[in-house]
């Protein structure tokens, strides 16, 4: 395929799109879909037809617009006007005023900090493309990066570009992507695999889900580029079984891409072939760990194995395997479209680019955001997030899920990057960010995460299997006011043992929520143990008397 031929494809779809003067897009991602956005979309289609504006107005679905708390969301002409909490009854007003000024009562101004403070790269197409339409993706220069890579660059050049971009793994570990790719590229073996880790098990995180539901093609494009760079011809997406909509859209996207020869044999008439298959996860948090994930794809119980050998050398069915997270892969195509220098110019010295966060908990603007690395927590929580719900007092923000920690108020002005978060006892994690106010009890939160780790521990290694159960027991005692200071010391000791001796990341990080709450909220532990009161009023104390165990 010549460059002219390729450019024609995109142009054709852009022209088709521009035939309409107004593009009405209704968010059909999970959160808005729950709020019946499909009905709103149908109402728009009906109204446009009735007002005889079918030639000028196009109604389509679109991916996540971010502000999930105020759904269903609707945009007109990709950002010219953004409407929140649109109901079927509002549709007529919006269509009536489409050539005039936006409807004031529903409109969210474009300069709202929630939108103005974000930098969108991985979420670039979320909200401006119909996730079920390949044409929309092509109109936004989709598959152009893949074309450029396959026709102009060698494998080494592609990897060099990734190194230059400074992108680090967005699944939580933060391993440099360029380095990972080059390890798999150099590994010996005729058959290699690329796996997209879409097993978003971290409770309270929904970034991967939104990206898969909003822009599945960009993930496929990223996988194909990764496959070319490392020399793989087969890719797997390991996706959570709990995400039916994401599975449906990804399946449809794979079929569309295959039919149009963006996946399959001899893509763009080059010698490169690449196929993608889906594998459904079945609800095991430990399968986010790469060796456990591989075991699960092989149809076995998802138990991790000691590393090394790393999957880069010995992975799926013993072949060199590259595993990247959804967000990492959705950054690839934009990096090749905009250039590695552009990407590297965003962020901090050691953490380049942007990061997607799922804001949830006790915060006004819950939803999906993408911000440059190095932004402060205060900006995220109070400017973008709009502050605490019900104007209560901020207490802590939890990052990294069950592997992360709670960050108290004194660190709100700390820049968000891999090193700073690790420095205060939390981790970047995959991007879940749960904001807690004064009504949350830190012991209750620690107990919640320990209960999670206890039930998700695969049971292979003793420190994790037994340690998490014992830590949970101790936390229950503390929360019921039945513990002594001796139990507290034991808890601290157990944290240390489990952290240093567990086999995989799940066990090694399981004590983090406890450690970070002990570090910053020790007075709450003391209040539970010595005074037998829960300062936040969450825990129910069984008796105020000392119970001898």
């Amino acid at each position: 395929m010549t460059p002219e031929e390729f450019n024609k494809i995109g142009e054709k779809h852009r022209n088709k799109r521009d035939e309409f003067t107004h593009n009405i897009r209704v968010c059909t991602a999970a959160a808005c879909a729950t709020l019946k956005s499909e009905e709103v979309k149908k109402a728009f289609e009906k109204e446009v037809k009735e007002q005889d504006k079918k030639k000028t107005c196009r109604v389509s679905g679109t991916g996540c617009l971010g502000l999930c708390a105020s759904g269903p969301l609707v945009t007109v002409n990709d950002g010219q006007a953004l409407y929140a909490k649109v109901s079927v009854g509002d549709v007529k007003d919006i269509v009536n005023n489409i050539d005039k000024k936006p409807v004031k009562r529903l409109e969210i101004p474009a300069d709202t900090p929630f939108f103005a403070r974000q930098t969108k790269i991985a979420l670039e197409n979320c909200g401006t493309t119909d996730p079920e339409s390949l044409e929309d993706y092509l109109a936004l220069r989709g598959y152009e990066s893949l074309y450029k890579v396959l026709t102009e660059k060698t494998q080494v050049e592609v990897i060099e570009e990734m190194v230059k971009s400074g992108l680090r793994g967005r699944g939580g570990g933060g391993f440099p992507v360029g380095l990972k790719w080059s390890t798999v590229y150099k590994a010996l073996g005729d058959k290699k695999y690329v796996i997209c880790n879409a097993d978003e098990g971290d409770p309270g995180a929904f970034m991967d889900r939104s990206m898969l539901e909003s822009d599945p093609h960009s993930i496929l494009e990223g996988m194909a580029i990764a496959g070319y760079a490392v020399g793989a011809d087969q890719g797997y997406v390991y996706i959570r079984g709990e995400y039916p909509l994401a599975i449906k859209r990804l399946r449809a996207a794979i079929r569309q891409a295959e039919r149009n020869h963006f996946l399959g044999k001899n893509i763009f008439d080059t010698p490169f072939s690449f196929n993608v298959e889906l594998r459904l996860g079945a609800g095991a948090f430990v399968c986010g760990e790469e060796t456990a994930l591989i075991a699960s794809i092989e149809g076995k119980r998802g138990t991790p194995r000691p590393r090394p050998p790393y999957p880069a050398q010995y992975g799926l069915w013993g072949c060199p395997t590259l595993i990247n997270n959804v967000e990492t892969l959705s950054n690839i195509a934009p990096i090749f479209r905009k250039g590695a220098e552009y990407y590297a110019s965003i962020g901090t010295e050691k953490s380049k680019g942007t990061k997607v966060f799922a804001l949830a908990g006790s915060i006004k603007n819950t939803g999906l955001i993408e911000v440059p690395m190095g932004i402060t927590l205060r900006e995220i929580v109070f400017d973008i997030g709009g502050g605490i719900l019900g104007d209560k007092k901020f207490k802590a923000v939890q990052t990294g899920g069950p592997s992360g920690g709670c960050i108290p108020e004194q660190f709100l002005d700390m820049p968000v990057d891999y090193e700073s978060l690790a420095g205060v006892g939390s981790i970047m994690g995959s991007g879940g960010m749960i904001v807690m106010d004064e009504t949350s009890c830190m012991i209750d939160v620690a107990k919640y995460f320990m209960d999670f780790c206890k039930s998700e521990s695969c049971g292979k290694c003793v420190p994790c299997r037994v340690g998490t159960a014992q830590m949970h027991r101790l936390l229950v005692l503390i929360s019921e006011g039945k513990a002594s200071m001796r139990d507290f010391e034991l808890l601290e000791e157990l944290c240390d043992v489990v952290k240093s001796t567990s086999l995989c990341g799940l066990g090694m990080t399981a004590p983090n929520p406890v450690l970070s709450t002990i570090r910053y909220f020790k007075d709450e532990y003391i209040a539970h143990i010595v005074d037998k009161v829960c300062p936040a009023g969450v825990c129910v104390m069984e008796s105020k008397e000392e119970v001898v165990l």
């Binding site: 709990e242 996860g281 609800g283 149809g299 908990g361």
Partner: protein, 166 residues
């Protein structure tokens, strides 16, 4: 009449079995297809029954102990049939701090059913999920496949009551 029903059941069973067979065939009856096949079994039968576990084990040439190991390892799979209606309570972090414990205790008080159990008359199963990814709408409960966001214990009791009346 009874015979007619039996015939109907047998025909329906055949159709479901065909779907299971198709999944195994698509993967060339490879032992690697175990999880994919169990997904199909659960999708068409609603749960993993002993008969099907044995059938899958034989067809894929995987020891039954391993099939059972996999089926019990993953939370998504269930070995018990579900009630006529289900309420899946999300227990993700966001939902938890916004009041899931209250929802579960309301269900316990009103319908005498614990999380993970089915009522005696087989009408209602209350299940929990580790985050369904609707954190923006916390707390969330899925009633018979339909997600409801920002629920309170009262709303949940009312919605379940309506489900049971149907």
């Amino acid at each position: 009449m009874e015979q007619g029903n039996k015939k109907k059941n047998a025909a329906a069973k055949d159709k479901r079995q065909k779907l299971v067979d198709a999944t195994m065939r698509r993967h060339g009856h490879s032992p690697y297809a175990l999880i994919e096949t169990l997904h199909t079994v659960q999708e068409v039968y609603g749960y993993l029954d002993d008969e099907n576990l044995k059938y899958v084990a034989e067809s894929l040439r995987v020891p039954l102990s391993k099939v059972y190991g996999v089926a019990t390892f993953y939370h998504f799979f269930t070995l018990k049939p579900q009630g006529e209606h289900t309420a899946v309570v999300c227990t993700g972090t966001a939902c938890y701090i916004k009041g899931v414990p209250g929802i579960l205790s309301a269900l316990r008080e009103k319908f005498f059913v614990e999380a993970g159990e089915t009522t005696e008359d087989n009408k209602l199963s209350v299940l929990t999920a580790r985050c369904i990814g609707s954190c923006g709408l916390a707390p969330a409960v899925v009633f018979d496949g339909e997600i409801a966001g920002a629920v309170t214990p009262d709303i949940v009791v009312e919605r379940v009551g309506r489900l049971l009346e149907q």
